[in-house]
């Protein structure tokens, strides 16, 4: 039955197709070309339709299968974590942008929650909450510039009048600064910082804003002289020089370079400084940030990044005259007899905090002196809290 119908329908169908294509649709009358045919066989049309239909079905099915088989389940936690991140895509965490870190920290149990440098501990805690991982305290870091040789303090070898960019300047025989380890001062780091934390001082040195710096590391990567390094923010005493030239040469090139004289090594109460290859380096694991070396350095190469050192203040009511403080004070600023109240000489006090750490009675506080520091008289007024 079906065969008979098919037997009749097929030639009829062909005939109709033939009429539509060859009679109703006007012939373009192109001629002249060897490929042009005046009669369009219905077979061609059916073949074209058939092949296209087959291909379409094939692609549709294949893509549907692929889409179903290779589905990537998106964890809603990833979105939540992504919301908490600052979104600067700085790459400090080591992943491909904030989304990359969000996915890694949710999906991978080994990824720590505190890897977002700009986010700091606030973000780490939120991520810990969402993912259920523990938030470990991260030591905040900051970028430090290891050079103080600004335009007025250091010498230049030649006049450079090229593109005002450090990466470009370094192509001209290593830069125009006499000291090959120093900062060139054309501001490449300033332009690299995604958080606007770097400005160039009047003396052509980068100034890092401690509140804005997130230790993302972009400036470290951008500096062609590798003058910027990331360091723990709490370790505020830094030998701001990278010069490995001999002392005599360094002195010729820069007024504030490290000449490896060794004064700081002798002064340090905890032996945290070593000289290596004509450069003094502080071991930040040992350093107690007392600031003694800063005062002793003959070229002022060591920088104390704490803007205003606090001074020790002994509460006479609490002091039991134990005298431990006087013994540990590196500058002998505390005087007092045993069993009577001790007093801190504000002039001598360098705010290292060793006495405060040692006092068993907790009688010592470190406080910033009030705005107008009274010279030579230690007034017992209440100073501003640190």
């Amino acid at each position: 039955m079906v065969e008979q119908i098919a037997h009749i329908m097929t030639p009829l169908f062909h005939r109709m197709l033939d009429i539509v294509v060859n009679r109703l649709i006007p012939q373009a009358g192109v001629g002249g070309s060897t490929e042009a045919v005046e009669y369009v066989a219905p077979k061609t049309i059916l073949l074209a339709v058939g092949v296209l239909a087959a291909l379409g079905i094939l692609f549709g099915v294949a893509l549907a299968i692929v889409a179903a088989r290779f589905v990537v389940k998106v964890d809603p936690k990833v979105e939540q974590v992504r919301e908490t991140l600052p979104g600067a895509n700085c790459g400090a965490c080591g992943f491909a942008g904030c989304m990359g870190y969000a996915e890694a920290v949710v999906g991978n149990p080994d990824v720590a929650v505190n890897m977002c440098a700009p986010g700091k501990s606030a973000v780490a805690e939120k991520i810990a909450e969402i993912t259920g991982k523990r938030a470990e305290k991260i030591e905040p870091k900051i970028a430090r510039v290891f050079c103080q040789g600004g335009a007025s303090l250091s010498r230049r070898r030649f006049i450079y009048s090229g593109v005002m960019d450090c990466t470009a300047a370094v192509l001209a025989a290593g830069g125009d600064k006499s000291c090959e380890f120093g900062c060139l001062g054309y501001g490449t780091c300033m332009r690299a910082c995604p958080f606007d934390a770097i400005t160039m001082s009047a003396d052509n040195l980068p100034l890092i804003h401690p509140d804005k710096c997130t230790a993302c590391g972009k400036c470290v990567a951008a500096c062609p002289k590798q003058v910027i390094e990331l360091a723990q923010a709490s370790k505020a005493v830094v030998i701001s020089c990278h010069s490995r030239d001999k002392g005599a040469d360094t002195k010729k090139k820069c007024q504030v370079g490290c000449i490896a004289c060794g004064m700081c090594v002798r002064t340090c109460p905890v032996e945290a400084i070593k000289i290596d290859n004509n450069l003094a380096r502080i071991d930040h694991g040992k350093c107690i940030v007392c600031g003694l070396c800063v005062k002793k350095c003959p070229t002022s190469a060591i920088k104390d990044h704490i803007p205003l050192r606090p001074k020790a203040f002994i509460d006479p009511a609490q002091c039991a005259g134990i005298d431990v403080c006087a013994k540990v004070c590196p500058v002998n600023a505390i005087t007092g007899d045993l069993r009577s109240a001790h007093v801190v000489n504000r002039e001598k006090c360098i705010g290292c905090g060793m006495c405060e750490a040692r006092c068993p009675k907790k009688a010592i506080t470190m406080a910033r002196p009030a705005a107008a520091v009274a010279p030579k008289k230690s007034r017992e007024k209440e100073p501003a809290r640190v």
């Binding site: 074209a48 092949v51 379409g56 893509l63 692929v66 889409a67 290779f70 996915e103 593109v163």
Partner: protein, 197 residues
């Protein structure tokens, strides 16, 4: 099946250097200018492009030789070639996202850009018109991929340095890049006559 290896090699070198798709045939310019702002994007695009080119050309050759030629459906070239490339890129996109997410993050964005790339379509069309065999088609595909990569890398290295230069306001961005491409094309002119195809 006799393969004329000399012909294959000739096609390969011709498509990579002499008739470089960017500098001699002006194809693939849209992506060329978009991706050469930085070296990493240029390199990423080179890899992705060569890979897609090879597979795309192979698939299209297969369909052309075994489906379109026997049934004389040559006029369906354009439709089918684009369809095949689009479907393949879509499938590759989905599979890469699942199987190699790291690679996907690096190179996945380029996949979407490649679909409307002139060269991806041009190579199968040339293969079809010249009735190349499998090896010749592959040689053309590989040569075009390598030639495009070469073009991208050269352009990216120049454009990175260009950022430091003092370009007049009206010429910044695309116009100066065009002039640069013209200069490189001038250099590539030196290759012509190397092989008479």
């Amino acid at each position: 099946m006799h393969i004329n290896w000399e012909h294959v090699l000739t096609i390969f070198i011709a498509s990579a250097l002499i008739n470089n798709f960017v500098f001699s045939r002006y194809l693939g310019l849209c992506i060329f200018f978009g991706v050469t702002k930085r070296m990493e994007t240029a390199v990423g695009m080179s890899f992705t492009f060569t890979a897609v080119m090879l597979v795309g050309a192979a698939l299209n050759w297969l369909i052309y030789t075994y489906v379109m030629v026997p049934y004389q459906l040559g006029f369906l070239k354009i439709v089918i070639f684009i369809g095949v490339v689009a479907a393949f890129v879509q499938a590759a996109d989905t599979m890469m996202k699942k199987m190699t997410p790291a690679l996907y993050y690096k190179l996945g964005i380029y996949l979407a850009l490649i679909v409307t790339n002139c060269i991806i379509l041009a190579v199968p069309l040339i293969n079809a018109d010249e009735h190349y065999g499998l090896f010749e088609s592959m040689a053309l595909a590989l040569g075009s991929g390598l030639g495009f990569s070469l073009a991208l890398i050269i352009m990216a290295s120049i454009r990175e340095k260009l950022e430091l230069a003092d370009v007049p306001k009206s010429f910044q961005g695309l116009p100066i890049s065009f002039v640069l491409t013209g200069l490189i094309a001038l250099a590539f002119l030196g290759f012509s006559g190397m092989i008479t195809l």
